[in-house]
């Protein structure tokens, strides 16, 4: 099917969940695919049977201190500022870095994979606007996405209990696997939450609870969030990439750094992409379609470099989640370093109750919505150690382990409202190792996010206390203005980055059309969280996979013709 003049049918930039999903759909449909990733390959052999390489290990130093999965901030610094008034930047270094390696963000994620709710796709219509934010409806609804959610859960392998969450959207069937074992501290906090009238449930998790898709059940090693899985009990995205490779129609080229999307003479069609290999030699891959799936930080940077995407919008509407961390110290050991990183969630802050509505109105907001509350614990020893003071207190606290082994944590992934001023652009001074301008964040959360955090934090502290914590406290990331310490890292720690090439029905107000194609160059698709018009209060990964499944399926199906005013016929 490949045109003799082209190298492949589709070239995909990025091998994370969005790119891997597109590769799976396209190769299943008989298309030939070349995948390019600027990072190294530590995930799987690129020759049949595409087994694990054995680079992944329970090694805190390698994964959390030495940038093993990339990007190395020395080679690829990013910069950050709150507003334009801050000058060029406030911070240079790691800014929301997600792995830059074959497998992308899926490599290190701990695999909490909730779906969004019906209302999340219609927030503007059903909840209404909020001053200072550009809340919009998604160009399609939950009902249209549901079959793709179900397929995403089957492909990645999600373990969960479909009856457990009273706030969940409707679904066409159960999860493909039952939940894995509960972590000890989450059994305490979930019981307390239920006592206080909340609705905790076992987290849907992309970690095998039984053997699935030829990969073993998780053996609870605990090196989960920020690590790859040494035994491949996490399915995202190794399962999808391996399936694509097995078709014989997919080639993965690691250490292939795409410099630009190459346009034809009309400027309205992409001819392919140009990239640098590990030695710095320039190559071009020509294709009928280009899929951009570099994550919501790097995708707009590539689009901007290439002159693709509505220049009034691309890079704008950057969203994270405003994370509210509520921490509880317990008088006994919790061993949260064993097993999955988070085993329970609750959606209560996403569905405003009378108290939340009253608090919103008192703050001059029509409503606010928080996010899922993750019931988890703390991490590994080096992480605890570097946060302690040097000297005798170091050794005493390492023996007592107030964080690693005695702390339970709620993380509320609060919805972050879209604002045009929050954006990624190019830093005027800082460069990456290839001599290109570094990506720069300009970001200030909407007042909504702070009001919501302030409302929920004490309520979650009450749950922690009821669970048995003797001491509780809370912080947000990014810190609220009043809590900001001079000189401290001002960047949000969230790795949920979204919105920077938003899709919509109006070509003037969006970058991508409802099929995730850029309006101006319609053979370029974006299949990552860049296209999300709103952030919702849920982790983005399952929805990245589901929307990529939809977009890639539409591409190989009866591709609708676009009418001049930008409206699309029903698919």
């Amino acid at each position: 099917m490949t045109d003799a003049a082209r190298d492949c049918d589709v070239v995909i930039v990025g091998t994370g969940p969005g790119g891997a999903t597109a590769a799976h759909v396209l190769t299943q449909a008989g298309r030939s695919v070349v995948m390019l990733d600027k990072g190294r390959n530590h995930l799987l052999a690129l020759d049949a049977p595409f087994g694990p390489l054995g680079h992944v290990s329970n090694d805190e130093l390698k994964f959390t201190r030495r940038h093993f999965l990339g990007p190395d901030p020395l080679l690829e610094p990013r910069t950050y500022r709150d507003t334009d008034e801050d000058g060029d930047h406030l911070w240079v270094g790691d800014v929301n870095n997600l792995p830059s390696t074959v497998g992308g963000g899926g490599f290190h994620a701990d695999g909490k994979l909730p779906r969004f709710r019906e209302v999340d796709f219609r927030a503007r219509s059903e909840l209404g606007p909020i001053e200072g934010a550009d809340i919009v409806d998604w160009p399609f609804g939950y009902d249209e996405l549901e079959p793709y959610y179900a397929e995403a859960e089957r492909l990645v392998g999600v373990a969960g209990d479909h009856t457990a969450n009273p706030f969940a959207a409707w679904r066409s069937g159960p999860y493909p696997m039952p939940p894995g074992p509960d972590m000890f501290c989450a059994t305490l906090t979930a019981a307390a939450a239920a006592r206080l009238g909340y609705h905790p449930y076992q987290a849907p998790t992309g970690v095998n609870s039984v053997e699935y898709d030829g990969r073993p059940a998780c053996n609870n090693c605990g090196f989960c969030a920020f690590y790859g899985c040494p035994i491949e009990a996490k399915g995202d995205p190794v399962g999808l990439l391996r399936a694509a490779l097995h078709t014989g129609r997919c080639e993965i080229r690691p250490e292939a750094n795409v410099t630009e999307i190459v346009l034809d003479a009309t400027g309205k069609r992409a001819r392919g992409v140009r990239y640098l290999d590990a030695t710095g030699s320039v190559h071009e891959v020509t294709a009928e379609h280009v899929v951009v799936a570099c994550g919501a930080f790097e995708s707009p940077r590539l689009l901007m470099r290439s002159g693709v995407g509505n220049p009034e919008v691309v890079g704008r509407y950057l969203m994270y989640h405003l994370q509210t961390l509520v921490l509880g110290l317990f008088p006994f050991r919790l061993h949260a370093h064993r097993g999955r990183a988070v085993t329970h969630l609750m959606d209560d802050p996403i569905v405003p109750d009378a108290e939340a509505l009253a608090a919103a109105r008192a703050a001059g907001l029509p409503y606010f919505r928080g996010g899922i509350v993750e019931h988890g614990g703390a991490g590994q020893p080096i992480m605890e150690a570097v946060h302690l003071p040097a000297g005798e207190l170091h050794s005493r606290l390492m023996l007592e382990s107030p964080m690693r082994d005695s702390m339970a944590a709620f993380t509320m992934q609060g919805e972050d409202l879209p604002q045009a001023t929050n954006r990624i652009d190019l830093d005027p001074r800082v460069r990456d190792v290839w001599g290109r301008p570094a990506g720069r964040v300009t970001y200030s959360p909407h007042r909504h996010d702070a009001v919501c955090a302030t409302h929920w934090a004490p309520r979650l502290e009450a749950v922690m206390k009821d669970a048995g914590a003797h001491t509780t406290f809370w912080v947000t990331s990014p810190p609220l203005r009043a809590h900001r310490r001079p000189g401290a890292d001002p960047t949000p720690t969230s790795r949920h980055v979204m919105g920077t090439a938003r899709m919509g029905v109006d070509p003037r107000a969006s970058v991508c059309d409802p099929h995730q194609r850029t309006w101006d160059v319609d053979n370029v698709l974006v299949t990552d969280s860049s296209v999300f018009p709103t952030s919702t209060g849920y982790g983005p990964t399952l929805t990245i996979v589901a929307t990529a499944l939809r977009a890639a399926s539409l591409l190989v199906g009866a591709s609708p013709t676009r009418s001049p005013d930008g409206d699309l016929p029903e698919s």
Binding site: R40, P52, G54, H55, V56, S57, N58, D59, E60, L61, K62, R65, R66, H67, F68, D72, L74, L75, P77, G180, P181, D182, M183, F184, T187, C218, N219, N220, C221, G222, F223, P230, I231, E255, A278, T279, R333, H335, H337, R338, G339, P381, I382, A385, V386, A390, G391, E392, H394, S395, R396, M398, L399, S401, R404, D405, V430, R431, V433, G435
Partner: protein, 206 residues
């Protein structure tokens, strides 16, 4: 050997990885004494000197005297919890990774390839200067005087502390955490693949 974490540390899997590679014997002694003030022995917790933190730092500073460089340990298993031991088989670096780690360790040294955002002072130079400033007689000083000298250069103290934390609790194949004693002290089993933990160990109270 067995311990209260229930994890076996077979001696052959934790043979010291330390081979003197950058610091002189005098510098190693000063560094051991200095890091012992930052991570001091207390009750069952060995201090940085006993944990081999100076060897860890020396292995890092001399990483490129080994081939492959001792930056990324191998995998998937160390042998401490079963499987074939492979952590000591360090992974080769890509050209860009080598550039980054040589810049970090050796400094940019006027090389334009390492100075795309300006000059970088490397860790080798910082340790050489920082240890010299602590004084050749550092190890002879009382604890209070050692602390005073460490406090005189907060940036160097912070660098030593970060590396002491890494050296105390990272996999022994990186040169520190001698015999896994850092993990044992804090009741942490370290790497546990392919054994893992049972569901009861995850869900139950210890």
């Amino acid at each position: 050997m067995n311990d209260d974490t229930g994890v076996r540390f077979p001696p052959e899997a934790i043979a010291s990885a330390a081979v003197p590679s950058f610091l002189t014997d005098d510098e190693l002694r000063t560094l051991a004494a200095a890091t012992d003030r930052l991570v001091p022995p207390l009750d069952d917790h060995p201090g940085a000197a006993a944990l081999g933190v100076a060897d860890y730092v020396d292995t890092l500073l001399g990483a490129f005297t080994f081939d492959p460089p001792r930056i990324f340990a191998g995998g998937p298993f160390s042998g401490r919890a079963g499987g074939d031991a492979s952590f000591a088989d360090f992974l080769p670096l890509s050209p860009l990774e080598e550039l980054a780690w040589r810049t970090r360790i050796e400094g940019s040294r006027g090389d334009p390839a390492r100075e795309f955002n300006g000059p970088v002072v490397g860790w080798q130079e910082r340790y050489r200067a920082g240890l010299a400033a602590l004084g050749a007689d550092f190890t002879d000083q009382a604890a209070e005087e050692q602390d005073r000298r460490l406090d005189a250069d907060p940036a160097f103290k912070a660098l030593c502390y970060e590396h002491a934390c890494e050296g105390a609790y990272s996999a022994p194949e990186y040169g520190g955490n001698r015999d896994g004693a850092g993990w044992r002290a804090i009741r942490f089993a370290g790497d546990v693949q392919p054994r893992g933990y049972t569901d009861e160990e995850v869900s139950g109270r210890d």
